[in-house]
Structures are given as C-alpha cells and as structure tokens.
Symmetry: C2
Subunit: 315 residues, 2 copies
Amino acid sequence: MARIVIALGGNALQKDGEASAEAQIRVAEQTARQLIALVRDGHEIVVVHGNGPQVGNIILREEAINTADMPTLPIDSCVAMSQGSIGYWLQLAIGNELRRAGVAKSVATVVTQSLVRADDEAFHRPSKPVGQFYETRAAAEQAAAGRQNFIVKEDAGRGWRRVVASPRPIDIIEKDFVASLVREGYIVVAAGGGGIPVVVEADGSLRGAEAVVDKDFAAEKLAEAINADILLILTAVDQVAINYNTPQEIPLGRLTIADTKNYIADGQFAAGSMLPKIEASLEFVKSGDGRRAIITTPTRAYDAIRGRAGTIITD
Amino acid sequence: MARIVIALGGNALQKDGEASAEAQIRVAEQTARQLIALVRDGHEIVVVHGNGPQVGNIILREEAINTADMPTLPIDSCVAMSQGSIGYWLQLAIGNELRRAGVAKSVATVVTQSLVRADDEAFHRPSKPVGQFYETRAAAEQAAAGRQNFIVKEDAGRGWRRVVASPRPIDIIEKDFVASLVREGYIVVAAGGGGIPVVVEADGSLRGAEAVVDKDFAAEKLAEAINADILLILTAVDQVAINYNTPQEIPLGRLTIADTKNYIADGQFAAGSMLPKIEASLEFVKSGDGRRAIITTPTRAYDAIRGRAGTIITD
C-alpha cells in the first residue's frame, strides 16, 4: 500500500479537443476507472490535474469582455475558476465510478494555492503564451496598453500573444489540509492547474500572481509535503524514450538518477513537454529514501504501479 | 463555544458593484475580520457564500462565445467556476487576516455539490433570470433554439432573458467531508453559490442540473447535516423588520417559530429577498433542540452572536 500523488495530463480530461462539459466528464470517467483500481488495492491517492485548454478558454472569455461592470479577472482568479470546474468534473466522475464499483470512499476537491517566489527569475522572462492571438505587434501592444504585467511576444509564426511567467512552486499552502484528508481516507483532488500562484508580501500576507505553475512541479512539491511514496505522472506516452521520434527510439522501463541526469545533459527530453516531467520526477526521487516516480499513460496507470508498464525512476 | 454556519450575502464580497478581483478581495478582508473575531472566541465556523453577480458574469461570458472549440458550459459548471474564484478570494482574505491577527488556524475551500430532486416542481416553473438580455421575444427564442432547458421569459420590462429553476437542496454531497474538517479545526468555505446542483440518475450516479440553488437553503441544509448550533445569515439589514420600508417599520430583536409563521402568513417578508432567509431560519430552528438562527449584517455578526445585535430566531 502506497501513498500516490497522480499528475493528470490534459489527455485525461479532453480527447480530440472535445471541450463540452459532457465530453470532459465522460473522459474523466474513463480515467477514474483506472484510479479506482488503485484505490481498491488499498493505495491512497491525490490527484493533481492540468488545466491548459480549460484555463485557456476561461482567459479568452475574460479578455473578450472588459468593461467597468465586468472587468477582466487576472490569471490567478482564472486558475481558481478552472480548479472549480475541472475539480467538479473529476469529483463527479470519480464519485460515480466509486459507486458503480461499490467502493465506499469519497472524493473531495480543495481549492489550492501554490507559493512562488516574487523574485523568481521566471518573472523576468515570461514564456507561457495565454489568451488570444493578435495579428500584428501593433495590435498586441494596443491590447497591452495600460494593463499591468501584460507582455506580448511573437508565437511561432501564428501571431502575437500575451506571455506569462511560469515560476517554480516552493510550497503548497494547503498541504496540511490535503495530508489530513488523505489520512482520513479521502481521494483528494488538489493543486489543480499547478495551483493558484501566490507570493508573500512584505507584511507576510499572500497576494495572487499573474502567472501559471507547471502541474508536474506542483504535484512533486505536494508529494514531498504529504510524504508520498510515489509520484505518478500520467501523460500521452506509455514510456519515456530516448531518441524519441527517430528510427533509433528506445523506450525505457527503468531510469536511475544518474542515467536521467546524463540523458538530460544529452538533450534527450523536450523542454515544455517531457523535460519538466523528468525534472519533477528527479526532484521527487532525490527528496527521500525509497521514493519513486513513474511516467505512463492513464490507461497503463494501474499496471505501472504493479511494475508492469511505464517508466520507473528510482535512485 | 458554538458551531456556526454563516451564509454570506453578496454585500460581503461586492460593494458599489465593484467586480474586479482586487476590490472583491478587499471587501472579503473586511468581512474576514468579523469572522476571525468569532474564531478567536473559540467558535467553529463554516462559510457558505452567495455568487449572484459573479456567476452572472461567468454565464454572460460563457454565452458570449459558443463555438465548436469553445462550447458554452452549462450552469452547473459555471457555479463550480464561481466556487473556485470566490472560494480563492475568501481563502486568501481570511488567511491573511488570520496571520495579521496571529490566530493559528487554517482556511480551506471545498468544491461542493448540492443534491436536488429531479422531480422538484421548481423545474416546471423556472424563475431565476440568468445571462444576457434579449430585446425581443423573437431574439430570445432564436438564442434558445436547439439548446436544452433554455426557457426564456420577459424580465420586468427590461427585455427577455433565460430563466432557470431554483430547486430546494435535499442534501449536501460533501457534508461528511465538511464535518470532519470542522472537527479538525479548519475554517471551511463550502457550498458556495448554494452548491453545484446535481440530481441522481436511475443507476444511482450523479449528474449536473442546469439550475441554481439558493445559498441560504444550502447553508441551512449543511448546518443541519454537520450538527451546527447556529445558522448565521449575513445580509444588508441589521435586523429583520415588519412593515418594512413603511413609517410603521418595526425592527425585531427576537422571533419565535410561532411569530415567524404568523408574519409569513401576513406577507411581511419579500419573496426572493427576506422570505427565503426567514424560511431557511425556521427550517433550521425546527430541525433540532437548541438550534438558533440569526439574521444581521456582516459588520454586526460578532455582536449578534453575543446577543447584542441582529434578529434571533428560536423555538
């Protein structure tokens, strides 16, 4: 029996870009069946979901209407909204699958803040594109005029777009709360979308930051904080591979810290894609004795925990 | 020391219609100071907030963009989003005020579903206006075409508008979860906006309903379920009054069940305004020995619990 923090990628909620609530609940139910197999085996689970497409739509809608009566809400509030909607869909889907499976457990979603450093260098080089596309630099700069922290950047030939910082989480504000729920037997959905980014002010109070936090790093930080045994990162590939997408591709069943560092140095993992998952895994494995990280797809999650699928990273 | 469920009206979050996140957090901080005075005295508190203006804006933005890539989300998902954003603002505000006051307590927001009956007669006479105004019946009916549960109605001479049902909550799905958090000493924000309305399907699973639940009734149901001592309803008036807004207006310090029933029969309380608060109060007081309900403003909350302000309703 292990305590497992599961980082759920976008494909655990959306298939073929189907963005209706109904479609997302349906996909969440498929994912939920895998998770429940783990719960049946006696494992404790905490789910940290991504929110890329969902918060993207929320931000687009916020930007579309910006009047005195309906001012555009900042990104931290948009992340909070996505925790509400996605948390609800997961909670509904997992709850329904628990009832179908006859498993007497409950699921709970907690609104979660991720602490980031106000002086994180990520704030000096915002990199994460969000919101609408502007055709020209002039149009983008006009949209940015008079708005704080509104930096625009050319986005891969597709136009201009706002970019926000993606600082590393250094703590999860609600970590004790999540830990106590897990101890009481709840399946917990927490740190959705990487958590709502907050910074500490001079007087010790918290304030929202217009940024987004990587959900794999947030899951890692939460896994450390609640003393988890396994960080399980669910994504689009069954196994991590080197020489990915080449005729020499080699899928890896097992990775040690040393191997992983070498492959990173070798540029084997794509930034913004597999690299953060590998880095989060490494950080977790190094954080305590016996801690393991596993990377696989939602459908192989159950087998992976039993050592029959996925890539396992150990010290 | 009492266990208190607090229903927070819209004025505990928005003043003068200021809808920016910053303004709402500022107002929430003022409200939080009152709540913390109660916590200092040893009371356990659960906060149930309204979401009228906030979910109104979310629904307007959802309706403003409805494409294959960005389909308009149904109302239950919009309520869930408002639990995320408002929960975050309250959590941030209460957390900051706790730190300032040096009170070693934590605050937690839980995404909450309210169970309603699929055959609640409210579904046959939807009455709650939501979303945008249409100038003519024809324009409203065109917007409604092809959308399920999209009923339109003339709204007080201001145009046509969608109306949704406001069924009574019969249970709070996450009640045990809220109860265990309260026992552990957390200040809990739950059932925001009255909770996300869900119904039970034939196979026992839950499904979202396009409806809104009154937050006072949800607070009442939650207060019963977690065995609270006091239901504290915070609204725009210091005390309940009869002959309200007339020269014969009489504010009431105390109401018994019998008095209250007589005044209701006499039409003393306005439907959709004071009446649901009075009905929720009655229901709570009748639900168990020694249970009290109190109605007052956020600024009088602390005094009211000590019997120095507000209207107290007892059996």
